[in-house]
């Protein structure tokens, strides 16, 4: 390489290191929360089931679940405009239904209040009554809406995802020795250790991190980047029709006609999809001569998360239309969506997703730590920006897990019949998270780390105990009964508590160690970064 080219390469690495540091810091705290709650969301249905321990439903076939749901809806809402039926699978055991009433023909009448989503026992079609909770849905929604009113939460999440994608690209360019760093982790060496830990967690799962940032943007691409649709189509509905197929739009005829049995439609759809199962059934104008039944394919047994749909006549079961087969671009974007959500993953791959998500969380967390640690000069009082960053690090890295544990503890400790208890559980998570972060601000920084991490650890370790005392599905019984969801949940909580406890212990260890001087002159990427930081 010529000298000029080498200088140019160094220049690029310097500017990329600078961008990487600032992007990572500014988006880091939100990204940490998105990563951690998003990682938990790989077990969204399992968390929901854990949070409703009184509900223990046996799985049935999709056809049975559809039949019992339709029978229930015929009793409670035979003349609705639309029935939405979300069929259960092996992981989500309950059928969910949602009814949309016909609008009142009198234009002066008040619109009918929106009906709540109901949950049914798929075997009987009876409504299940369990404690009110948002369940795993809360972590899932939070990880891209950030509990900020629509649409701002999603825009902020998108901006942070964009920062992450850019930080990954600049991080790779900054990095000279990507293969070596895979194997390098030096403990108890201050800044060096944080850099090693950041590099290791980033490099080990680099393809996952890049994939998850990019595909995360794709999940909301229609909101973030609708402009190509505007450039090609006068009416965006034309685009949707071309990609997803025509939705039934006929008006109700006003003539009564019995609804066709739905089980045969499911069998035919499954045959057409080569064995794929439906996830959602939408009945439009049930018991009307213009009734239609639309079946949407689930994303469990395929990489492309956007399954096809088939529209049947709701009177004689004729197949009316189907969604067009996806072209290469539609297939690509559907597969990206599937890769992000991982609904196709079986147990082993799901746990792998979970661990990779934790590696991503660790990458963001260690990056945040590195930013503050390497800017502190020995002997000098840290300036305001560093102290602020340190406090925000405590608030994100130690206090968010404590808040998540509090959310789960509240689920067990609040009375099951308390009104609006689902909302109270969510409030408790935020009060504990932000309250603990505020309290930690009045403590010396080292003590703040130890105490908040210890509280988070204690909260997680308490979960199996509280679960055993407040439900009849404690660890001993769930282990004996082969109730693996509950047994695994307890073990996961113990492991999380142990990890946080270890972190709390480490923060007490380091303070007793004398600060070490680097024995050798820093080399490579870190020398570069230090040179850049000196500006």
């Amino acid at each position: 390489m010529s000298k000029a080219a080498s200088n140019a390469a160094t220049g690029v690495r310097q500017s990329m290191a600078w961008i990487h540091g600032w992007l990572g810091l500014l988006a880091g705290w939100i990204l940490f929360a998105m990563f951690l709650t998003g990682t938990a969301s790989y077990f969204r249905p399992e968390i929901t089931r854990w949070m409703q321990p009184e509900m223990d439903l046996r799985p049935v076939t999709a056809a049975t679940a559809a039949d019992t749901a339709v029978a229930h809806l015929q009793k409670v809402a035979p003349t609705a405009e639309q029935w939405f039926i979300y069929l259960p699978d092996a992981r989500t055991t309950a059928t969910r239904i949602f009814i949309r009433e016909r609008p009142n023909p009198d234009p002066n009448a008040k619109p009918a209040p929106r009906r709540d989503e109901l949950r049914l026992d798929p075997a009987t079609g009876e409504e299940v009554t369990a404690r009110d909770t948002r369940g795993g849905e809360h972590f899932y929604r939070f990880h891209f809406q950030l509990q900020i009113p629509h649409p701002w939460g999603r825009w902020l999440a998108g901006l942070c995802a964009m920062a992450m994608l850019t930080a990954i690209i600049s991080g790779v360019i900054t990095h000279k020795r990507i293969f070596v760093d895979f194997f390098t982790l030096r403990w108890s060496k201050g800044q060096r250790s944080w850099l090693d830990a950041h590099n290791a967690s980033a490099v080990i799962a680099l393809p996952f991190h890049a994939m998850i940032a990019y595909t995360g943007l794709i999940t909301l691409v229609a909101m973030y980047m609708p402009w190509p649709i505007q450039a090609n189509y006068k009416d965006p509905a034309t685009f949707e029709k071309a990609v997803f197929g025509a939705e039934p739009d006929a008006e109700a005829s006003g003539r009564l006609a019995a609804l066709t049995p739905v089980a045969p439609l499911i069998a035919r759809a499954s045959q057409e999809w080569g064995g794929g199962a439906p996830a959602t059934m939408v009945v439009r104008y049930p018991n009307d001569a213009a009734a239609t039944v639309t079946l949407f394919q689930n994303s469990r047994d395929r990489l492309n998360a956007r399954g096809g749909s088939i529209v049947f006549s709701g009177v004689d079961g004729r197949r009316l239309s189907t969604s067009p087969p996806p072209g290469p671009a539609a297939e690509t974007s559907g597969v990206m969506l599937g890769l992000h959500m991982g609904s196709f993953a079986g147990p082993v791959l799901r746990w792998t997703y979970f661990l990779l998500g934790l590696a991503g969380t660790a990458m963001v967390g260690t990056g945040l730590m590195l930013w503050t640690v390497k800017r502190k000069r020995p002997g000098a009082a840290p300036f305001f920006g560093i102290r602020l960053a340190e406090r925000l690090n405590v608030g994100a890295i130690a206090c968010l897990p404590a808040g998540m544990a509090a959310f789960l503890l509240a689920n067990r400790l609040l009375p099951a019949t308390l009104p609006a208890r689902g909302d109270i559980e969510v409030s408790i998570m935020f009060w504990v998270w932000f309250g603990l972060a505020a309290l930690a601000c009045v403590r010396p920084i080292r003590r703040a780390w130890t105490e908040t991490l210890a509280i988070a650890a204690a909260a997680f370790l308490a979960l199996p105990l509280v679960n055993a005392l407040t439900t009849d599905r404690g660890f001993v019984r769930s282990f004996a009964n082969g109730d693996w969801l509950f047994a695994a949940f307890d073990l996961a909580m113990l492991a999380t508590g142990a990890l946080l406890g270890f972190a709390a212990w480490r923060t007490t260890q380091k303070s007793s160690r004398p600060a070490r001087k680097p024995r050798t002159a820093p080399r490579g990427a870190s020398a570069l970064r230090e040179a850049v930081d000196a500006h």
Binding site: M16, T166, I169, V221, P228, I229, N232, Y233
Partner: protein, 84 residues
């Protein structure tokens, strides 16, 4: 720095959006496919523009290229009008 950050974040988004929309409009393939490719690849274009905006030392050049790309592409789109 504020001007650079504004050009990078807001201008970069505008430039990426307008540029990929123009590509989607003129690509000689199926309209829906061209639209989805453009939407999917837009984030890489945006990421590239963001990084370059902070790497290039001459601010005038950054401002000119990014806003030029944004307004140039948007102008072409305005002249072409929607295809369907």
């Amino acid at each position: 720095m504020a001007a650079r950050a504004f050009t990078a974040i807001v201008g970069g988004y505008a430039a990426a959006a307008a540029f990929v929309s123009l590509l989607a409009r003129i690509a000689p393939i199926d309209r829906a496919e061209a639209t989805i490719w453009a939407m999917t690849l837009s984030f890489l274009v945006y990421a590239g523009l963001l990084l370059w905006a902070f790497h290039e030392t001459r601010l005038a050049r950054v401002t000119g290229v990014i806003w030029g790309l944004a307004f140039g592409s948007a102008g072409c789109l305005w002249l072409l009008g929607p295809a369907l």
